[in-house]
Each structure stands twice: as C-alpha cells, then as structure tokens.
Amino acid sequence: MDVIREPLAPGVFLTAIRTGKFKSATLSATFLTPLERGRASANAAVPFILRRGCREWPTMEAVSARLDELYGGMLEPTVRSKGETQCLGLIGSFLDDPYTLEGESVLEPAAGLLAQLLLEPATQEGIFRPDYVDGERDNLLLAIRAQMNDKRQYATLRLIQEMCRTEAYGVDRYGAEEEAAALTPQSAWEAYQELLASAQVELHYCGSADLQRVRQVLAPLVEGLRARRGERTPAALRCAVVDRPQGPVRTVVDRLDVTQGKLCMGFRAGGARIGREDYPALLVFNALYGGTATSKLFLNVREKLSLCYYASASTDPVKSLCAVSSGVEFDRMDQAQEEILTQLEAVRAGAFTDEELKSAKQAVIHSFKSALDSRSRLEQFYLTAAVTGVWDGGPEETARRVESVTAQEVVRIAQGIELDTVYRLMGKGDEDRA
C-alpha cells in the first residue's frame, strides 16, 4: 500500500493511497476550517446544499441518475469535527475501474461530478437556490434536535459543551439551533465562498489508479479552487490543549424526562496526544481503563458491582482529553462516580496484571491493523493527520509503537489524568437528588 501526500495548489493537498485490494475506490474532498461559534451552522449546511444539484445535474433525481450511471456510486455530504477543526465535504465511493462491465472508466466521470458539485452549484440570482437552502436548513435543525434522542451520546455531547465552554472545542459540529434557524441563502452562500477562498482543502483517493492519473482527474477541481483563492495560503489549523483543569471540579446537572440516569466524567489528559512520544501509551491507558470488554470499568464497575448498565472510557488524542460515559440509576450516581475514580487510582498505582496490559494492547493493535483493511477508516486516519499536521507513518506504524508500551508508561499517563467536569443527566421529579 503506497501512500503519497503532496500539495497541488496553495492550501490544497492530495493524499493518495494506491492499492488494488478493494473493489471500490474512495474519492473525497474536505474543507478544513477552524470550528467557530457563529459560523459552524452555515458551514455545516454547505455540503448538504451542494449535494442537491449542480449546473449539469440540477436536481437530486438527476444526481442520483448520474450516480447510477457510474455503477451505483455514492457521494455523501459529511460534517465532522476533529480537535478544533470543522471538516466539511463530500465523500465518494465508486466501483474501481477493473470491475466495470465493459472496461470503461468510472474515476474520470466521478471526479467530474465531484468537481461540478463543489464548484458549480445550482443557483438562482447568483446565490444558492432558496428552496434548497430552506430544505437543508430544516434538515440541519432536525439533526441538531435529534441529538437529544440518543441520551447516551447526548450526555457526552453536553459534557464536552460544559467542560470546554470557553474553548472552540465546545462548539458542536452542526453549530447551535438558533444559529441554524437563522440560515438564509445569502449567509449560506457567504459561508461557501469563504470556504472556497480560504479553507485548507484535503483531497483523498484510495484505489488502483496511479498517482499521475489521480493528479490528472483532479486537475479541473484543483484549478477551479486555485482560481477562487489565488496564491493565498490558509492559516495553520490549531487546537488549544489544556493540560490540566483550571479550577476545582465542576458538576453540571440536566433534568429530562428519562428513566435511566447518565453520568459522564471529563478528564484532562496531561497533554498526552498525537505527535508526542506518549501518544501510544494514552491509547493503551484508555483501553485498559475503560475501552474494552476486559477493562477495569467494564469488569469492576459494570460486571462485579453492577453499578452501571454500561461504563466505558474514550479519548480524544487530538485535544488530550478522556471521558467516561455510563448509564446509572439516579440514586447510585455518587457510588458509581466514586468507583470510577477508584479504578483510576488503581491504574495510577500500577495495580493491573500483565494479562490486562496485554489484552489492552491487543485491542488497540487490532483496531489499527484492521483499519488497513477499511477504506473509510483509512480516510479518517489520514484526515486526522491533515488536521494535526502530524505525519509519522500509517496505522501499521501506530500499531508497532503500541507493541512497545510499558506498564510504567501507562502509569505515567494515568498520573497525568485529572478530573475536570462531571455531567449528570437526571429525571424530572428527582430534584432532591444529585
């Protein structure tokens, strides 16, 4: 598997993975821009509006028919946040050329459709069509409101909003509801123009075509971008890392009509993150503490003490954060919180077996090794590299570094982990609790 990264124009980069392993190829374009309150919703609407239609294929039906012609290809709008960067784009998945029925090429027309959707959207009076903007504004509002439906994810989202309320990291990838409600054809168009002119653009290809051909099929898109941005180089993307809590532990309580409580705890990870020596140890710590079915939180808090319906830990290695997420009965919150911290103390004290360490490392290694067999995981891996600017090898290199993590390194990570914010989701009519 050959991975090449190169600039194609100022602020426009290509990551190309050449492999004949898959029967489909990935082709995507993603704008990277700082996550900011007041701009996030308008940015988030852009990929969805662009996907509605372009000059030659002006309706969704026409775009669907074009994709059918390209052997049932897919071109999906995507809105993600990584660290303090908002990532907005279209991700395509197309049949790789060797598998077409008559030996025709799909890559060229696929790149053509991608370029046209990005550069020549369907317009009315020089800006986005109002009916498309209205429709996608409503969809965006629904998506923001729907975040509340899954209480498990919602609780984690609220934890992050509260813990990082003064940082860009606390802004949701879709922005806020009132921001989305205020979206107009004019404001969406301005957000789009701003992305074209000044966002870093990541082009990603994974498939059997050689680099020369990939450059060639992307040339019209790259030239179109160059024409709209000139020789300006986008500002470097950054993510403010807060090594430790800036005050005493803060507890936030929400009350909703729920039958099961949620307890989420946010930790600062002492600055351990991607690009530093301690990154692999952070991953192993997370797996050992609460990342797997053989972890401390799973076996002790959940299985042995039956304090939680679920209890797991996750880490954001861009921002240097850890979060524990659990489902708990309302009157057992204190007990669960205490036990979650007791387990952290255990890791800090080095109270884990070689078996536990081995099993945690195995889980992390499996996750990176199996990423090599998945186009979408590869795309995510290299997008993270683009956002952080850390290019130190592929998933196999991370897996290799995880192999050599020692118990002492895991202990050192655990000692740097400090509780910052506690979020509790409680039922209504339980005001005397929490």
């Binding site: 029967k23 028919a65 390209l70 052997y71 029925l101 053989t294 290694i365 199996s370």
Partner: protein, 426 residues
C-alpha cells in the same frame, strides 16, 4: 481443494468437502490483515416441521434462534468470552433459512477457528440453563413487540401467505418458546447441525488447505443426511388478504406494500430470479426512479423508504415501505406504475443505468468480508454460484424484466400493511 478463478471480480475461491459432508469454502484475499470465519447451518426460523429419518416432527416456533443463544455455553464456560480474550470479535445470527456463527480477528486465527468449530458442534445444555434463557429470550420477544417497523413487515407477510411459516416471527412467541426443553434443543441440534447440512466459509489471507485440515481435525462427527423440511405445501399465487391496519405507539403511519412472487427454485435460476427481482425493485421505486421522486416531491414518502426483493426457502416477495401520511395513496401509485411499466416497458438507457447501479452495488458489497462469507454460504445452500452474477447480468434484457412486471407485480398478488399512531397519541 478445487480452485475457481472469477476473472471479472478478481477473486479466487477454494472449495472442498470432508468425508462427513461438511463443505469448506475459502475466499483467499492476499494483502489483507483481517480474517473472517463463518460457520453456518441450513436451519432457520422457517424449519419447524421436518423429517430427519425418524418420521415428520413438529417443533415449537423459535427453536433455531434459541439454539443460537445456547450454543455459546460450553462445559467450561462461554465461547464468546474465550474468543474475545483471544483477540477475536465473535457473534451470531438466526434468519428465516440459516443460522450462522462468526468471528473476525487480526491474530490467533487458527485457535479462534478451532474454538468456533468446536462450540457449534458440541452442544451443552441443562434444564436450568434452558429455563434461564426462556426468561432472557422472552424479554427480547417482548421488546420486539414494540418495534413497529418489524411488526408492519410481519403484518404484510401475514397478508401475503396463508400458511407458509415465514408468517411467524423467527424468535417465536412467549408461548411457543415455553415448550422448548433441553431435549428439544439436543434433538434439533442432532438433526440440523449435521456436517452434511453445514458450511464453513473463510475470507482473508489464509492457507485454504490449512483451513480444511483444521475442520477435519475438529468436526469429526459423521452425522446423518440433511433433514427434509415441510413448509406447508403449495400456496395460491394471490395474496390472501389485500389490506390490514392496526395502531401502535408511533409518530407517523408506517407501511409496507408487498407482492407475493412465485416460489423460487434452487440452482442457477435462483440467482437470475434474484437479479431480475432486484432490478425490478430499482426501476419501480429506487432512489433515481420517477415514482420515488414524484412521491417524495408530493410529501407522500421521505428518506426512510426502501424497496427490495427477498427470497427464502419456499417463498419470495417484493416489498417496499417506510413512513407516509397516506399509505393507500402510495399503494395506488405503485400499482399504477407497475401496470404502466408492465405494458409500456422502459427506456433502454434507464434500464442500462439501473443494471449498472445494481451490478456496481453487488460488487462493492464484496468489499465486506461478512457479506461475502454469508453470500457464499447462502449460495451453497441454494445450489447456485453467487459469484457468477456479472455473467448473468449481461444476459438480462429489458423484456425479461418487463414481463416480470406484467406477470408478478399485479393487484391480485399485492397487499398493504399499515400501522397507524394511537388515537390521542403524539
């Protein structure tokens, strides 16, 4: 092992059989780090009445699913945890005509494969463990009763069929599973988990001969021949009822429109029927179809909409559905479009486009190890070579699909099932 090269798909498939009849199929994929193994029996929710050489026997609905749950128990503990501790990610499912057990891993493949083959062929049940499972599966069934999307689907099948067991939930009912004992499980395991009724498929960069060798070492039982099954004899071609409706706790009405299709035959014709059925579904109501886009524009359907062809032992149907404020209007528009396409046919460019999309979709599905392993196993059970679909696609002409519309997508074969919100609800 016999090697077959599928040039168009760039795949190499190795097949062999043990003396006891177990078929082993390996899809060798150089360059992949992940391995996937799928061990399946041709036994599902439909197979309640069978003859394994001792006369016909009627068993309660839900035994296949119950067995799937209980097989993970071993004399020494639980196979699921054993495999997880050895770096594998294991799971299982029960469908209408097949039960499958599988895992994926990037290390320890041989050991995990031995565990998989071992626990599936060595049952260990006690009256106590069966009684405990009745409670757990009972909860699962109760939870499923609240799932309106599943319920509306079974309501449709109840309209289409008079007695075919596809009408019955795969997991059975609270009542039916209460009749299951450890002895029922042992007897059904003996009948259906006989090597002659099973297949092992492996996908990954593995040594095919080595896989066959491990199977030979672990699956040593001889077992009897595959049992005969009875799905209640031939049904009439028309839907039994054309419409049904009831209320549940939902926010918008849910619906399924279905067409009862001729009973599929095993062998090469089955693949052809599947491809024609899938093309018809796309032409009728796929993402790029005029009908779907018109209904979407009128606000009669939304993105929660799908349309597809499905076939199981002894039955096949085409179903489409989702959410709608007026399901009867959708059904009327569907029948109208079926009549038009059946009499007027399709624009050749549109037909070719649909064919390309359907073909491309099937090839892309082969990226998934899981999907490939299941299709290879299912194809073996149905007596067809799934991977010949590129050649079959080439030979399908518009007239054949038009004829399918005219013959099979008719009002007589059609039914509509609806679940409406409760009065006074949201």
């Amino acid at each position: 092992m016999r090697e077959t090269r599928y040039e168009k798909l760039g795949m190499d498939i190795f097949q062999g059989s043990l003396d006891n009849g177990l078929r082993v199929i390996v899809d060798k994929r150089p360059g992949y780090g992940k391995q996937f193994a799928f061990f399946a029996t041709r036994y599902g929710g439909l197979d309640t009445r069978f003859d394994a050489g001792e006369g016909w026997w009627d068993t309660p609905a839900g035994v296949a699913h119950f067995l799937e749950h209980k097989l993970f128990d071993t004399k020494d503990g639980n196979a699921l945890q054993l495999m997880a501790a050895n770096g594998a990610d294991p799971n299982a499912f029960t469908a209408f005509g097949i039960t499958g057990y599988f895992f994926q891993c990037t290390q320890g493949f041989e050991e995990n494969l031995r565990t998989l083959l071992g626990f599936v062929t060595e049952p260990w049940f006690t009256p106590e463990s069966v009684a405990k499972e009745q409670g757990i599966i009972g909860q699962e069934i109760a939870m499923g009763d609240d799932e309106a999307e599943t319920e509306v689907f079974y309501d449709l099948l109840g309209c289409l069929y008079a007695h075919h067991p596809v009408r019955t939930h795969i997991a059975g009912t609270q009542e039916s599973i209460s009749h299951i004992t450890d002895q029922t499980l042992y007897a059904c395991h003996r009948a259906f988990y006989t090597p002659a009724n099973m297949v092992l498929t492996v996908v990954g960069d593995v040594d095919p001969q080595g896989v066959l060798e491990i199977a030979r070492q672990v699956v040593t039982g001889q077992g009897g021949p595959a049992p005969r099954r009875d799905y209640g004899g031939e049904e009439g071609s028309d839907a039994v009822r054309h419409e049904t409706s009831r209320s549940m706790e939902v926010s918008t009405p849910l619906f399924q429109v279905g067409f009862k299709l001729p009973v599929p035959q095993d062998g090469a014709q089955r693949l052809r029927d599947q491809l024609v059925g899938a093309l018809a579904a796309d032409l009728l109501a796929g993402d790029a179809s005029p009908l779907y886009n018109r209904l979407y524009g009128q606000g009669l359907v939304n993105r929660a909409f799908s349309c597809g062809y499905e076939d199981y032992p002894g039955c096949a149907f085409l179903a489409l559905g989702g959410e709608s404020r007026d399901p009867a209007a959708v059904r009327d528009a569907v029948l109208d479009q079926c009549r038009r396409l059946g009499s007027e046919g399709f624009d050749p460019a549109w037909f070719e486009r649909c064919k390309k999309a359907a073909y491309g979709g099937m090839v892309s599905q082969l990226n998934s190890f899981e999907n490939t392993a299941v299709e290879l196993a299912q194809g073996y059970f149905d007596g067809m070579d799934y991977l010949t679909f590129p050649e079959v696609f080439r030979t399908i002409r518009p007239q054949e699909v038009q004829e399918f519309f005219a013959r099979c997508l008719t009002p007589e074969r059609c039914a509509l099932a609806v679940i409406t919100p409760k009065e006074g609800g949201r």
